[in-house]
Each structure stands twice: as structure tokens, then as C-alpha cells.
Point group: C2
């Protein structure tokens, strides 16, 4: 997908783990062009799209009194870890899996300044049999409900199709869609306010979240006890991977109540810290403080024999969400996050200069070529 | 799922075709209860849910100046027919498949009186390889765009995950989510206005649409030439099945412009004509006029050896959408539909009496026990 530094032999990269973005990207580009061309229809309804939201994490419409934001997000392959671990431990991990799925949608939706309001569940099973395991199904329901409670969203409904022949037998394809409002409209955050002098606040992750799982699963082959290999005493690799993704909407809502409107937000997901380069503008992002690396991520980096550059280009490495605010608000963001039970660090600042991310404590530089999302 | 009349030996029912609702239903009920309990969160945001929309086809929130409606819908297994036919004919059917997927969401969303505004695409492939077939991928993009154009919605974005290990290799799991507004609020249609004397207008279907495909695919085993068996001269069974689902939002939008607000709407999908019993009230629905049966549906009924009762309880049998309006508006509804290129019939009326659907020309009665959706 993007140019990467050569990596030592024995290193396990994301592409080696089986995801080939080169094949997907032409379709994505074609789809993005076609999608952009549909914006004209909004005039028919007396509305307009917020064009700057194309390329951002959620799509935004101007519907008059407020903005409307919506998104669909797939969990990915984290359920495969849950299924393997359930075989090994006889526990169900689908309460956490439910939170992961909702987090994928919620944490993206809030980047544009939206308050999430409604979540819809998409649970496509490989056959009716999936639902025979009542413990697992109930865990999915309860975890979904609990995540909705945390984010104060209404669970509007959803789909539970049985798709034998499409979804593999015994598996389930999970996704969430989320709709929210940007209200008042001054909360809109699609990048126009970001500028030099802004501080970068990083919020802690709980672990791998739901990105990098192909790599994490591939790695199991290298571990003597597989998923039961201990990451730290008493914590297996499998359990550590299954720590549910942090839900960050309590923080963004808390910021609003505290009178802080972020200049920009980035959900640190599929491209690791390269997501800090997401904003379309040309700025230098200088990081002076790197949050502690979550043990499971340090474990993955070590066993995959990745250098720091490779690890930070793929995994969240302990930082799940970035909030860009005026420097004078940065400490307050940390406090609001902490009041939500989420650790946060004033990690760096935005500067004039080439488009690049400088992680100074690790001597890493990512340039414009390292992230091509649009 | 529901009590059904005994069927003659040799009959192929929906349950025999491999979908067991008994296994799914306890989960659905548990999920519905948990979902309903999340409505309390809306007060935090100064909003409220339209509780009557639970159990309807789309979820509705009251956000002040208008209502917000949202939904996610899965296509189901129609892609398996497209994939088989592509092997046989070297054509791609994914433009029609795209329309089917969008129709599943749009045709449900409009039942509550919403104007669809944004569609998100959920295209989960069994691996990056799915996207290697550029013709197929491009057809999917173009069909999606065209359906958005027909419905005048913005294609907001979506997800194109590669889910090896969850989605079967070479397959794709397709879903759409749709968000819309009920604006002005007087367009809300969640059933409170339906009453005796209302007319039932049925809109034509194009064929099987996207429900009943498990049965239709199972049937292929009985056909001498499989999907290439002719339904009528020059039209193969496979091609006939793949006729894209009608998009009905031009009709509901046309009605609004013509000054007609339906008292209720029903999208005729998974339970065939039993969906006409969807409204929670106790009314008798008397049908005096049955639309012509689409050839492919007549073919399925004949080869599956289903009697009329079984066929109308599973398939749309030529009627894809029902609109309930005051009797004096009925003929106008037919005209608006026809101006959109969709045939329609004033097919019956709502009466006081037991909850039942009487299809008089066919001597069929469905009672309250025949549809348990809530």
C-alpha cells in the first residue's frame, strides 16, 4: 500500500499476514469517485453534503439546523481469536467482541464532532446453528447493550441473517452502523481548524483493539503455546488480544461539556500511528512523549521481530485516539479523559513544515508517502 | 416460525431449504429487549425515540425539527445465484445485485415515511482476491451508483473489508445501511393512522427480489438444466431470479409531492404476503384483486409444488410493496406509481374484524398466528 522501510529477515509484516491492499485500492478509488458524484442529489432535498467529510472517518450532511453524520464499520477478524480462545478456555468472549464492533463505528463517528445517537447491529452468521450456542449469543447481546449504555446511544435494531454459503459455517460477520448529529453545528470537526501550535493529545488504547488482527493471528504459529502463551504472568496472549476496544465517545462528549471543541481528531486504527497524518493539510506533527506500549503490543512487536518503525506503522502501540486542540486546552483534555477512566498524554504539537510525523523519542519519521487514504 | 397448513409430499418449504428461524428467534427476542432498554439514553441528548417504530421496518428518533430514521439491511444469498450464473454465462450480474442490496434498505426505510438521504455500502469479501475480477467489482460500483441516483440519495461511503476465514473464499457479504429524515414530521407513518376504510394499493415486484433465495437455489437441484432452464422462451431461471429488486422510494416521494401521506406501508419481503399483517392493530385486510404473478415466481411455485397458501406465505407473488391510504386517494397512488414506471393495483381494503388477511380470489386466509415478527 505504501512505501515502507526494508525490514529484517524473519519480520512478519501486515502484507505477509494476508491482506493485500493493492487489490482493493482500485475498487476503492472507483467507488469513491462514484460516491462523490451522488452528492448532487442533496440539493433535491434542500440539503448539501459537507464535502470535506469525504475522506474523513464519517460522512456528514448539512440538513439545516444541524449536521447529520453516519458510518458503517466492520469488526474484521477478531472473532476468529474469540472462537479459538473459546475452544481453549470454554469461556465466551463475545461481550468484549460486541464492544469492539461498536467501538469501530463510534470511535470513527466522533472524529467529525458528532454525538452518536443510534447504533444498528449487523450480525451475519454462517448458518442458523451459530445461534445455538446460547451463552455466546447472550454474551453478544449483553456486550452490545453495555457498549450502547457507555456511549449513551440507542440500539435501534439490526439484522441477524443466516448466510450459509457466504459466511463460513460456525463464524459470524459483525458490523455496526452509527448515526449521529453534530449539534450545535459549531462542533463540526473536518479539519479546517487545525493549525500550527495545536497540541496533540493521545488517549490510551486497551491493547490491539480491532486492527492488526491478521498479523496477530498469524503470529500464533510462532508461539510455543499458541494463544495460551503468556504475555505477562497470568495473562495469555489470547486474553490480552481480546481486551475490548476503548470507547472514546464519553471523552469527546465530556470535552464538549467542558467547553472544548477539538480542532481535529484521528482514530488510530488500521495504519497505526500513520493515522496521525490523516489530515489533508501540510503540517509537521512532532511527538515528544510516547505513551507506554500496551504489553500485548510489545509482545507482538517482539515476536514478529518488527522494528519500531514497522510496529508504529501498523499497530496503535498504546495510543488509540488522537485529539488536536489549542495548546492551552491540552491539559484539560487529559483531565477530561482521566475523569472518564482513560489515561491521556499531551504528546506533541502541530508545526509548520513538511507533511510528516516525527516520533522523536523513537527517532521515527513518517512522510506523506507513508499514508495514502484518499 | 409460524403454523402453516400441511403441504403435500414433494413440496419444498422455506424451512426445508435450510433456514431455521427457531434457532434465531430467542436471540432476536433477547436482543430486542436489550435494544428497547437503551431508549432512555435519548433523554440525555434532549431527544426521544418514536417507540412505535420498534417492530417497524426502520428505527425512528424524534430529534426536534424532524424525525431521524435509520436501518441496516443484508442482501442475503442472492449473490450465490449471481456467482453461479456468471460461471455459466460469463456475464457479471453485480450491477443488479447492487440495486438489490440498496433496495433492501431503502424499501424498508420508506415505510415509516422517511426520505432516504444517505446510503453506506458494506461489502465484506472472503479475501482480497474477490476484487481481482475488475469487471465484477466495477459492475458493483456502477449498479450501486445507479440505484443511489434513482433514489436520489448520497452514497456516503462504506467498508470493503477482506475477511478471509469469516466470509467464504470467492464470496461477498453485502449489506446497506440507510439514514433518512421524516420531514415534515407529519409524514411519520408508524401505524397510528391506519383504520377501517383504508384502501390497500399493491405495487408490482420485478420477480423474487431478494427474499426466498434459499428456496429458489434449493430448487435448482430439481431442474434438468439448472439455472439455464427456461422460465419462458429466451429467459433462463437464473436470469429471471436476478432481475433487480424494484426501488420504491420514487413512489413514496412522488406521493408526498402529490399531497398524499400513506396511513401505513409494508415492504413485502421475507414472509411474503403475511407482511400485510405487519401492523400491530386488529384489522381484517380483504384483498379483492390479486396482481399477476411474476413468471419466475409462478415457475418456483410450480416446481416447488407449493399450493397458493404456501407460495403467498413465502414469496411476494408479484406484489413488492403495499401502501395503505384513504380510499379516495387509492387511484391517485396507482397513477403516481405508474408515472414512476411501476404498475400498481387497488387490491383491497382494511376492515374492522379479526386480525386476518383474506385473499379472496385465491380463497386464502392468514390469521394472527401466521406472522410473529415482534
Amino acid at each position: 500500500m505504501s512505501s515502507q522501510a526494508p525490514t529484517p529477515s524473519g519480520t512478519l509484516s501486515y502484507e505477509q499476514a494476508g491482506v493485500n491492499y493493492d487489490l482493493i485500492d482500485p475498487l476503492k478509488i472507483s467507488a469513491q469517485r462514484a460516491a462523490a458524484a451522488t452528492a448532487v442529489h442533496m440539493a433535491t432535498h434542500g440539503f448539501s453534503e459537507v464535502t470535506a467529510s469525504r475522506g474523513e472517518s464519517a460522512y456528514v450532511l448539512d440538513v439545516g439546523p444541524f449536521y447529520l453524520a453516519s458510518i458503517v464499520e466492520c469488526l474484521g477478524t477478531k472473532t476468529l481469536v474469540a472462537d479459538e480462545m473459546a475452544q481453549l478456555t470454554r469461556k465466551s468472549y463475545y461481550d468484549g467482541i460486541a464492544q469492539d464492533t461498536i467501538a469501530m463505528a463510534i470511535n470513527d463517528l466522533i472524529t467529525v464532532g458528532a454525538t452518536p445517537l443510534v447504533v444498528q447491529a449487523y450480525w451475519a452468521a454462517g448458518g442458523s446453528q451459530w445461534f445455538e450456542d446460547r451463552q455466546r449469543a447472550q454474551a453478544l447481546v449483553e456486550g452490545w447493550k453495555k457498549a450502547c449504555d457507555t456511549c449513551q446511544v440507542a440500539w435501534g435494531g439490526g439484522e441477524t441473517p443466516a448466510l450459509a454459503g457466504i459466511v463460513e459455517s460456525g463464524r459470524i460477520d459483525l458490523a455496526a452502523n452509527c448515526t449521529g448529529l453534530i449539534n450545535p453545528k459549531s462542533r463540526l470537526s473536518v479539519g479546517d481548524r487545525l493549525g500550527p501550535g495545536d497540541a496533540i493529545v493521545l488517549l490510551e488504547s486497551s491493547g490491539i483493539h480491532a486492527n492488526g488482527l491478521s498479523l496477530a493471528r498469524k503470529l500464533v504459529e510462532r508461539l510455543p503455546q499458541g494463544y495460551l502463551t503468556e504475555v505477562e504472568p497470568g495473562l495469555s496472549y489470547g486474553e490480552a488480544l481480546l481486551a475490548p476496544t476503548m470507547l472514546y465517545s464519553p471523552v469527546t462528549e465530556g470535552l464538549w461539556k467542558a467547553g472544548i471543541t477539538p480542532h481535529y481528531c484521528a482514530n488510530i486504527t488500521g495504519h497505526g500511528w500513520r493515522k496521525l497524518l490523516r489530515h489533508p493539510g501540510r503540517f509537521t506533527y512532532r511527538i515528544h512523549t510516547v505513551p507506554p506500549v500496551t504489553p500485548v503490543l510489545a509482545f507482538i512487536q517482539r515476536h514478529a521481530q518488527q522494528d519500531d518503525r514497522e510496529a508504529y506503522s501498523t499497530l496503535n502501540m498504546g495510543a488509540g485516539f488522537a485529539i488536536f486542540v489549542p495548546a492551552q486546552d491540552a491539559q484539560k483534555v487529559v483531565e477530561v479523559a482521566q475523569s472518564c477512566g482513560i489515561r491521556a498524554w499531551v504528546a506533541g504539537q502541530v508545526e509548520e513544515g513538511d507533511k510528516q510525523l516525527l516520533i522523536e523519542p523513537l527517532n521515527i519519521r513518517f512522510g506523506d508517502d507513508d499514508l495514502q487514504l484518499r
